[in-house]
Symmetry: C2
Subunit: 214 residues, 2 copies
């Protein structure tokens, strides 16, 4: 009984997600859903990425958070369209919230719509939002066991960014363990070792993004 409820919610979500994707396709917008645990560096990644894509590609952002508009304020400083979606107690964004977010945006001239999902390694992965690709982040300080422990986030990812790699010298971290775990979970997605401090991995990430643009 309970499972039936969940399934019907997911089916309804998928239908709305499909409509979101169609709407974005018509507008020529590519949508990237960015997912990770809290504090893995999603907002910082966007703060670095969006100026680097300008002036040839203009971006917009939907930011999901339980409360506060802090992330949207950070990204708003880049002078691009940003919509904050506050989920209250909700642990993930769903497609209907994204529909509302898109409706609040002027999509003309936008090349990429980034969705910064709620910081959570579990629930967001279950909800198609209408994106074209999924980026999963994991950060070095979270420890080298996260791919094995949260495979549902990494399995459907189209690209995986290991963030804060500048801390590898400070912390004990076994890259081989991450690669070994990924070999069981997802061998399709590129793995980028990334640092917003040193710039490591930035070119690889930007190249991947440009390859997603039609």
């Amino acid at each position: 009984m309970k499972i039936q409820v969940v399934e019907s919610v997911l089916k309804a979500n998928d239908a709305v997600a499909h409509e979101n994707r169609r709407r974005l396709d018509r507008a020529g917008v590519r949508c990237i859903n960015i997912m990770s645990a809290p504090g893995s560096g999603k907002t910082t990644l966007l703060e670095k990425t969006i100026p680097a894509l300008l002036p040839d590609i203009r971006c917009a952002v939907l930011v999901g958070d339980l409360q506060t508009t802090r992330d949207a304020e950070r990204i708003g400083k880049l002078d691009i369209p940003v919509v904050q979606i506050n989920t209250g107690r909700g642990c993930h964004l769903d497609a209907t919230q994204v529909t509302s977010g898109i409706a609040a945006l002027d999509l003309r001239g936008i090349g990429f719509l980034f969705i910064e999902n709620v910081g959570n390694m579990v629930c967001p992965a279950g909800f198609d939002l209408g994106e074209h690709a999924r980026a999963a982040l994991l950060s070095v300080p979270e420890g080298d066991d996260k791919v094995a422990k949260y495979p549902t986030l990494f399995q459907p990812a189209d690209i995986i960014l290991l963030t804060k790699v500048d801390l590898i010298g400070v912390l004990e971290y076994c890259m081989d363990r991450v690669r070994e775990d990924l070999s069981h979970v997802n061998t399709r997605a590129p793995l980028i070792e990334f640092s917003s401090k040193t710039g490591q991995g930035m070119e690889q990430w930007l190249s991947w993004l440009r390859s997603q643009k039609r």
Copy 2:
């Protein structure tokens, strides 16, 4: 309609949690539910805490994870009773899972039962498991904005541990911001600045634990 389903699930959970607590009370076991984002240091905290409480207080642990038994294996090395609860795609532990976990434990002589919840700053906070107290962890590398962004985790916490404070020198981190945010969310719970590397905060944490024992 959807909200009614959620409410009935939560009510059923609360009834089971109440029974768990009664059972633990009869056995003289105090139960601490430990919650945080992935990689904040829950397992490491237990690895340090449990030997420090011995020999006068014996502990047992229930470990919640989507998959793998890695955390249970780490804690099992301490030669104490440990039960791993794998939730599959489940984003939190619920009271019924804890009932099963308790049933698999011999509670005789146990002073503390620690529950290491699934790494998630959102969903676990909504589910009473039958614990006597809640410990919420946030780690320095996650950034100083997490209390404001995930208030539902910190509001019901009985104690809050800021972990990995040895990294404050390496990262930009504003303790005043954390204290200011906590002043709006929870002024009841002690805040302990903790480092499993340097031992900072360990005595304060152990004192708090001992104060919870009846």
